[in-house]
């Protein structure tokens, strides 16, 4: 199967994602790994919480992967997203693209993460020691 989409409340594994996109026709694989930063906009993060409208999020992630495979002539693409509580350094998202040539793999990964952040119904709450905020919700 050329596309693999996962939303999980368990830690995401980069090696599994890589194995899913490995392909004898691929000369290059690009993998984007999001990680939880300790500081954001000058405030120290305690943890993040991700919530998804899972049924729809999986559909939107699949749309992104299908378009990427088609447009960049990929061998395979995988998009994994974590939900629930995440500590500093943990991985909210992994995107992997394999392609005969490396340029396509890079461009597809970048397209996928940029688009995921715009269209996929997943929400991130930043928890600080003195409050919390749903990211991008209000001005």
């Amino acid at each position: 199967m050329e596309i693999d989409i996962i939303i999980s409340d368990q830690p995401l594994d980069v090696q599994s994602c890589l194995n899913k996109v490995a392909d004898n026709a691929a000369g290059g694989i690009d993998i984007f790994v999001g990680t939880v930063r300790e500081w954001t906009r000058g405030r120290k993060v305690v943890r993040l919480e991700f919530e998804a409208y899972e049924k729809m999020a999986v559909q939107e992630m699949r749309k992104i992967a299908e378009k990427a495979v088609d447009e960049y002539e990929l061998c395979k693409m995988a998009i994994y997203h974590r939900v629930g509580r995440l500590d500093i350094g943990e991985i909210p998202v992994i995107i992997a693209a394999s392609a005969p040539h490396r340029g396509a793999a890079f461009e597809a990964c970048r397209y996928a993460i940029d688009t995921l952040k715009e269209t996929v119904p997943i929400w991130k709450k930043e928890i600080f020691s003195d409050g919390e905020v749903w990211v991008s919700a209000t001005p």
Binding site: G34, E51, Q59, K117, T119, S136, A137, P139
Partner: protein
């Protein structure tokens, strides 16, 4: 018109629930935009959001799409995955 609404992220906190059954004072020709206006009136905090999308049947709806009470309707505040 009676609809079931799912609310996520900050909208879940504003509505006080992830899932809500609403009796709307709207007739069968009501649109997505009518629902949004109704919600803005009932939950004025929603007006402070950068955007408020509405999905119907797990697909982003347009403002002039007709509401279909048989479908799952969801409030989509600004997404922030990744």
């Amino acid at each position: 018109m009676n609809v079931n609404i799912l609310a996520f992220g900050i909208t879940k906190e504003i509505l006080g629930s992830r899932s809500l059954n609403l009796d709307l004072p709207l007739d069968n020709g009501a649109t997505v935009e009518d629902l949004r206006e109704y919600l803005f009136e009932k939950y004025p905090e929603l007006k402070k959001l950068n955007s408020l999308g509405i999905a119907q049947g797990t697909v982003y709806a347009q403002d002039d799409d007709r509401l279909n009470p048989a479908e799952e309707i969801a409030l989509i505040p600004p997404v922030s995955g990744g």
